[in-house]
Subunit: 204 residues, 3 copies
């Protein structure tokens, strides 16, 4: 439990870093930095809880999440240049956070009684919702829709949790396996520079 | 019931096509295509269910909706050029879907105990919410706010359902009438190229 | 109670004016004007109620709110040039509305059992959520994230309500004090042209 908790809060913190860095890049003010941090850090979880009718949303009820999201803004405010230099480490944590968010989001959706397709959607939304909200608020088309191979690992992880649940596998083992698979796929995609294909309407 | 069900799922599919086509136009990757399909197809219904506290949202609980939304992405992926050539047919189904979404959304809001003004708002949001989400995710100002005469038919349809409910008319008859009115108004607006007026702040 | 009610509805109306004026500026059609009015006027309250599981959202259940939001569109439609000339008065009411929304949003979150950090977040979201939704729909990066000192007064007001609650101060007195503090801070920020600082990533 302790390890999961640490990873969970670390995931929130690292998602928050992505928001704060984007705010600096877009020349938003310090409040905009805090909002993008919190949006990136907590958006996916809030969306999950609202859709699953889990009230109050964990992101608002558990001070550790809010603190981790706000902490990200402070860290970037204090040393944005250092964070940029640490980009590889940030990506590592980000991939870990994605895996964890997808695994716990999917499991929570199954617990709430959703079927397999709905649970996969909720799991993916938990993982990518914060980043989508961050990008929309910053005026960008969400990066996950454009080029990063970010969503495919999420979908694979969510499908693994659903499959394990169908096979009666123990929930914790399934979550750890799925989160690891997401993490590995995401890191390989970054390392090999994999992108999802883009269809063209005109020409071949 | 069977006809309504077919039209309902067909409406979701056609709304999804609009999302997938926009994604191709904006050069999003295949995952972005799937997300815009699902957003356009299911966004209005999810918004309605979250606002009415109807959990779980029908779009997540009923696999037919998710399948229809995903199917739209596959259809466009397999033959975007064909879909573009079929644009007139797509608009026909889109107008039918709009009518159906508005009629069922308004009726669901009345059932949930909302008054007439709130039910009209929910009905319109059900009809146009998916398209608004689609456009925001793609980085556009929602087309329904800019020029298409799309919302006026929706508002008329929602008002008809509310009026029929106040007069004690049978719900199914009211829904069919309202959906038909939306469909007709929308098709006439397309045919006659009607637009809502734009106010100007400066000059006459 | 009567005064609070009047101020509350006046706040909704004035928030709505900001939406309608932005729609005119962006050359949206009359329906877009109505949507931006309602989004700016009611978005913060709907977000608050959805996050707190307060169903149905007050903005949809109470016709006075919908009427005030729609009224804003009509007022701007009838005399946008007059409203622009009255900008100072609009800012005054807007600051009053902000104070009121933040105070009541925070109090409602505490009533719903949220802790202090969550209640502050809900209070701020109630105050700024409508403006953020308005700007996103119009295709802008939310002005509150960019330069206006708008969110700091909101955060101070929410913190005051939470502190007063912790000290056992009477709720109405706390709300009035907090709303007044927000109003005063916001007006001083406008008068002195205060802005939140922007961090820079490169250079000094």
């Amino acid at each position: 439990v302790t390890l999961l908790r640490v990873l969970d809060v670390a995931g929130v913190l690292v998602f928050g870093l992505s928001g704060a860095l984007l705010a600096v890049e877009r020349r938003l003010d310090v409040f905009g930095m805090l909002v993008l941090s919190l949006a990136a850090a907590l958006g996916g979880g809030v969306l999950r809880d609202v859709l699953l009718d889990a009230h109050p949303p964990a992101a608002l009820a558990d001070p550790a999440y809010l603190a981790a999201g706000a902490c990200a803004a402070v860290v970037v405010g204090a040393g944005a240049r250092v964070v940029v230099r640490l980009a590889p480490a940030v990506r590592l944590f980000d991939a870990a956070g994605l895996g964890l968010f997808v695994a716990t989001g999917t499991a929570k959706a199954l617990d709430a009684g959703l079927g397999a397709p709905g649970a996969v959607v909720i799991g993916c939304l938990t993982g990518i919702g914060g980043g989508v909200l961050r990008d929309v608020l910053a005026g960008d088309v969400p990066v996950v829709l454009r080029r990063e191979l970010y969503a495919v690992p999420a979908a694979v992880g969510a499908a693994l949790v659903v499959a394990a649940d169908g096979l009666g596998v123990d929930g914790s083992a399934a979550a750890v396996t799925a989160a690891s698979a997401v993490f590995t796929l995401r890191m390989v995609a970054l390392w090999r520079d994999w992108h999802a294909p883009v269809l063209r309407l005109h020409g071949s």
